[in-house]
């Protein structure tokens, strides 16, 4: 089982790998865009942080990763490529993919059906991961995506561990599950795009506070599942192939702390040591109060909580 973590600079690549990452995922700048990218994030987000790398940074990051047996996943997971004169948009996307391949990436993350087909037609041999925007909620979708040539599927937020296990057992396609910060809405169906290059500051819209008729202001939309520490033993037992942290648009120092904490959790369990949740999460002082609160695991992704019991 691999721990897969986000990278948004060479410095963050080094820190993430030194923190214990088994896989890193990152994207390249592309001159086609001003602020958007082929990488499902703005090249520069509305808070000024970069989420894509220059070619020089990328090459150094790949070299550092491969020297330490860390795999590099290339984010080519823009949600949709549409028709354009002389097909320039798709051709430029394929050029972007070839740039990543030339730099030595080990796999591509792709989140558009048309792109999956185009890569097959172009004879691209680099393994492809179906991104979470493709909304694989069930084993029929696993079959559908497998026929499009993917070797691994990133399961979206708000899928229970039992369901993930069912999809894992259904097929020989590898399964990747989120463990870090999540989204309130189903990713591939959400049109409250943020960190996509917007020139207005909308923050994280699903965590906003709303005024409701006759009620106190409330973050009524906020059901982000943000923690999976307690579930690490069960995720390990389920033989999930990759556990993924999010945060290319975040402060990389904060994400590195998450990487260390989750790596500690994984090694604690896999090496047969006593799995003490409190000890593990004490690495981040505010984690317990933010994530667990009065009731155990209030933001937990995979444990039996009122959040998961509210799932359709």
């Amino acid at each position: 089982m691999k721990l897969k973590v986000p990278v948004n600079s060479y410095e963050s690549a080094v820190k993430q790998i030194d923190a214990g990452a088994d896989e890193i995922y990152m994207g390249l700048e592309d001159a086609l865009f001003s602020t958007m990218s082929f990488s499902a994030r703005a090249q520069v987000t509305s808070n000024g942080s970069r989420s894509t790398l220059t070619e020089a940074e990328f090459a150094k990051s790949v070299e550092y990763a491969h020297a330490r047996n860390v795999a590099v996943n290339f984010t080519a997971n823009c949600q949709h490529i549409t028709k354009s004169p002389d097909d320039f948009y798709r051709r430029t996307f394929l050029d972007y993919v070839q740039r990543g391949i030339a730099l030595g990436v080990d796999a591509l993350i792709v989140a558009d059906i048309g792109n999956l087909i185009a890569l097959q037609k172009a004879g691209v041999k680099t393994p492809v991961i179906a991104g979470s925007y493709l909304n694989c909620f069930n084993s029929e979708t696993v079959d559908f995506l497998k026929r499009l040539g993917v070797f691994r599927i990133c399961i979206p937020d708000h899928v229970t561990l039992e369901e993930i296990k069912a999809m894992k057992n259904h097929s020989d396609v590898e399964i990747e599950a989120f463990i870090g910060y999540g989204c309130s809405n189903l990713g591939g169906m959400c049109h409250l795009y943020h960190n996509s290059g917007e020139k207005v500051h909308v923050g994280v819209p699903c965590r906003a506070r709303f005024l409701l008729e006759g009620r106190e202001p409330e973050c009524i939309m906020d059901v982000c599942p943000d923690c999976a520490i307690c579930s690490i033993p069960r995720l390990c037992d389920a033989r999930i192939d990759s556990l993924k942290l999010t945060g290319r648009e975040m402060n990389s120092e904060e994400v590195v702390k998450l990487t260390r904490m989750y790596k500690d959790a994984i090694l604690t369990y896999t090496e047969g040591r006593e799995f003490n949740r409190r000890t593990i999460i004490s690495a981040i002082p505010w984690w317990e109060s933010d994530m667990c609160g009065d009731t155990h695991c209030k933001r937990c992704r995979y444990e039996d909580t009122s959040l998961l019991r509210s799932y359709i």
Partner: protein, 274 residues
């Protein structure tokens, strides 16, 4: 425009109202499998659909995304439903690639319509234009188009007998929807609301003491006026240029008011009982 569809996705649907101006009824639910099953098995609604079909109206089924744990039951429900004469040869609206895969496997001739859950467009964001306004004109045009408007995707979905699309309508997406129409897809546009997002954790179930629902409470719409936004630094006042809209929670859907964009060219419009 040839067709006005009324969506039957509520158990409180007015079966005794006058639907003279309606040519098509879409029965089911585009976002909630629990609601879908309740609606599609409701005898009163099924009788209504049968009556309307006798009057010469068309009927279609509207299906949601399907979590793995409901997949088995959904397959059974669909097989039973499609065996009913009222749904013979009807188009099925799909919002789940896996369900589309299954339907095509059991009936390769069954025509399908891509639902809003499978159509993406940056222009659907309330601040959509701000995402791409600094890009080149050619990129602006490309990203404002709906996701299906792509040769590879159109070819694939045609192989699955997708012949129709239902979508939200914005200034930016209108041109690509018209191009899809020229490519042979029938286009139905929603006029009651725009769908901003879908949740698996339904707020009705979250609020109940045992995280269940009766299937009726979600037919009441909860209006959400934006108060403060949030980022990693905490809550902040809404900047005046964000165009952050009033939204509505309708069960597990987050909606906004549909934009007033001309749709005389569309093959049909979709209305809901509000």
């Amino acid at each position: 425009m040839s067709c006005c569809e009324m969506r039957i996705d509520q158990l409180n649907f007015h079966t005794e109202a006058n639907y003279e101006g309606i040519q098509l009824f879409g029965i089911g639910h585009e976002s909630c499998v629990l609601k879908f099953i309740r609606v599609i098995r409701d005898l009163q609604l099924l009788e209504f659909a049968e009556r309307q079909k006798k009057f010469g109206k068309k009927i279609r089924i509207v299906t949601p995304f399907i979590p793995e744990r409901h997949l088995g039951e959904m397959k059974t429900v669909l097989r039973e439903t499609l065996a009913r004469p009222v749904f013979e040869d009807c188009v099925v609206v799909v919002n789940d690639l896996g369900l589309m895969n299954y339907l095509h496997r059991i009936d390769e001739r069954r025509q399908m319509c891509l639902g809003r859950g499978l159509i993406a467009c940056f222009d659907y964001a309330p601040w959509g234009r701000s995402i791409y306004k600094n890009e080149s004109p050619s990129i602006q045009k490309a990203v404002a188009q709906v996701s299906l408007y792509d040769d590879e995707e159109m070819a694939l979905f045609r192989r699955y007998q997708v012949t129709e699309v239902e979508a939200d309508l914005t200034e930016g997406s209108a041109e690509s929807l018209k191009e899809l129409q020229k490519e042979g897809f029938r286009i139905y546009v929603h006029r009651s609301s725009i769908l901003y997002g879908t949740q698996r954790s339904c707020y009705i179930r979250r609020r109940s003491s045992d995280q269940t629902c009766s299937g009726i409470e979600c037919e009441r719409v909860e209006k959400m006026e934006p108060d403060q936004l949030w980022d990693s630094a905490g809550f902040f006042e809404i900047p005046p240029d964000t165009n952050f809209p009033t939204m509505y929670l309708r069960g597990n859907q987050i909606c906004g008011r549909a934009y007033d964009v001309s749709c005389d060219w569309a093959d049909g419009i979709i209305l809901r009982m509000e």
